[in-house]
């Protein structure tokens, strides 16, 4: 299976070609730097993304408060994590930086608030 990925490491936007067979990388081509190569491999084998959402808050400045993960999370877990957060209800005041969930789904990140509520 061959993939063509537009690299997002820098504005150059190399279209990196990655070939995999049985879940293993066979070849990586068309990259211009080692960071691009590394990114393309990770993007195929275990893609991760920064994560952000909102959580309900009672008595706050707004009805919801924005949250983020303290590190990137696997792409495939983003929807479930969002669903998990839809069940969380906080009580104001909640200062920015408050941990809402600790190590949810064993993802080794925390979910923290990003504004005061």
């Amino acid at each position: 299976m061959k993939y063509a990925l537009t690299c997002i490491v820098c504005p150059l936007g190399c279209v990196i070609e990655v070939e995999i067979k049985n879940g293993e990388i066979i070849s990586v081509a068309n990259y211009k730097c080692p960071r691009g190569k590394e990114w393309a491999i990770e993007e195929i084998l275990s893609p991760v993304r920064p994560f952000m959402s909102v959580v309900r808050v009672i008595g706050g400045i707004f009805p919801v408060v924005s949250v983020k993960s303290t590190g990137p999370v696997p792409k495939e877990n983003m929807k479930d994590l969002t669903k998990l957060l839809s069940n969380v209800v906080l009580q104001a005041p909640v200062p920015a930086g408050t941990v809402v969930l600790h190590n949810p789904m064993g993802l080794k990140v925390d979910i923290v608030t990003t504004r005061d509520a």
């Binding site: 537009t6 997002i8 504005p11 150059l12 920064p50 952000m52 959402s53 009805p63 669903k83």
Partner: protein
């Protein structure tokens, strides 16, 4: 009380301007139309803010809070829910701002003004979308504010018009929160957003319709379906390519326009290519002592640039107030050469280092940016990414022309 500088708009550019003006010894007041400081940053809950300015990757609210905390710790006064009705220039150092705020109407006197009121979003009717006037039609920013400030889902099956960053970011937010984004429609033959945001389309299997436009909305009470069609290289609809897409929500992400109504009423000259005012390198408009920064000046991709402009405008506004005006100069016009859609500032004086912000018309690979006699090699230039370049005093020529060539 006569202020040195009144800042109109408490978003990133305005907060940066106010902090700078205060630090330079000015007596400053911030006026903000919303009930909170921080502007659109508060609803931009994704990361990507401050990478250049701070060397740190923050979410919008986190970036905003750095500036809000600073404003509070410096005791810079601000008025929230403050609507500016009118600005009057009585004399070069006497300006009057007419205000409606919760405590009533008020006239505020100031020597200089920094205008940082941001931009407004283009609506569907501005891009030729006709049809039924039903609920379920939002601009991308409205949807963002609904979801990320107020926790309300705008719809379940969403078609997005425009592949700029706001549209793509909303495609991700809607998909994550359980809506189905049935497509992103882009008039141009290439996508509008930054590469890191285009990944969103692949992540959520969202089809991108390049060289397409939305023509018509159909529904009873609520959006039910939307007609789109292919366009030719001139942007004209190709007959026979029309088709209907089922959806309950249409999100318009058709770009931003600097909000300059108050400035226009002052007779300030507007540049049609930016939609913002004509400015000199101090970011001063054609009305002496009225400075502009952020998205009111030019639509920026990065908050970092808005802050940089705010700091510049704030500093120069204090200088104006303290010295009774900025010295007259032999201004050199910044001329737009090939493949330059817009450039800020419009006039430079050749006495200082300046920062140019510009946008190309068309994408170019292995481009050369020519500024005066200086050449800058840039691997990839796209209209989606604003170019920022510092020009040294000794590299400023008369005349001074800027051009992006292959």
């Amino acid at each position: 009380m006569i202020y040195d500088v009144v800042v109109i708009g408490g978003g990133p550019a305005g907060l940066a301007a106010a902090i700078k003006a205060h630090e330079e010894g000015g007596k400053v007041l911030i006026l903000e139309q919303a009930e909170y400081l921080g502007g659109i940053l508060q609803q931009c809950i994704h990361p990507g803010f401050g990478i250049h300015y701070l060397g740190e990757d923050l979410t919008g609210p986190e970036f905003a809070s750095l500036f809000i905390e600073k404003v509070r710790s410096l005791n810079i006064p601000y008025i929230l829910s403050a609507h500016v009705m009118k600005i009057e220039i009585m004399l070069p150092l006497a300006k009057k701002i007419q205000l409606i705020a919760p405590k009533g109407t008020k006239d505020i006197e100031t020597k200089a003004i920094v205008y940082t009121a941001g931009a407004r979003e283009k609506h569907g009717f501005e891009i030729g979308i006709t049809g039924d006037r039903v609920s379920g039609i939002y601009t991308a920013g409205e949807a963002q504010s609904l979801m990320d400030l107020y926790g309300v889902m705008p719809g379940k099956r969403v078609l997005i018009v425009g592949s700029g960053d706001v549209g793509l970011i909303m495609a991700r937010r809607l998909s994550l929160e359980g809506a189905r984004v049935v497509g992103v429609v882009e008039l141009m033959p290439y996508p509008g957003g930054l590469a890191r945001n285009l990944v969103i389309l692949r992540d959520f299997n969202i089809p991108l319709y390049l060289s397409h436009r939305v023509l018509e909305v159909h529904g009873r009470g609520r959006v039910e379906r939307v007609k789109m069609a292919r366009v030719n290289s001139k942007g004209k609809t190709i007959p026979g390519t029309e088709r209907w897409i089922e959806c309950d929500t249409l999100l318009i992400s058709a770009g931003l326009v600097p909000d300059v109504r108050v400035l226009e009423s002052l007779g300030i000259r507007i540049d049609p290519s930016t939609g913002g005012p004509v400015v000199n390198e101090f970011l001063e408009t054609t009305a002496p002592g009225v400075f502009v920064a952020g998205n009111s000046l030019v639509i920026n991709d990065l908050v970092d640039y808005a802050v940089e402009q705010g700091e510049r405008a704030g500093m120069q506004a204090v200088r104006y107030a303290k010295n009774g005006g900025l010295p007259s100069m032999n201004w050199i016009p910044v001329e737009k050469g090939g493949n330059v859609r817009c450039v800020i500032p419009h006039y430079i004086n050749g006495e200082n280092e300046v920062i140019l912000y510009l946008r190309a018309r068309k994408p170019v690979k292995d481009a050369t940016l020519v500024t005066g006699k200086k050449m800058h090699k840039i691997p990839v230039v796209t209209p989606a990414e604003m170019l920022r370049v510092k020009i040294k005093k000794e590299d400023i020529t008369r005349p001074f022309k800027v051009e992006v060539s292959p």
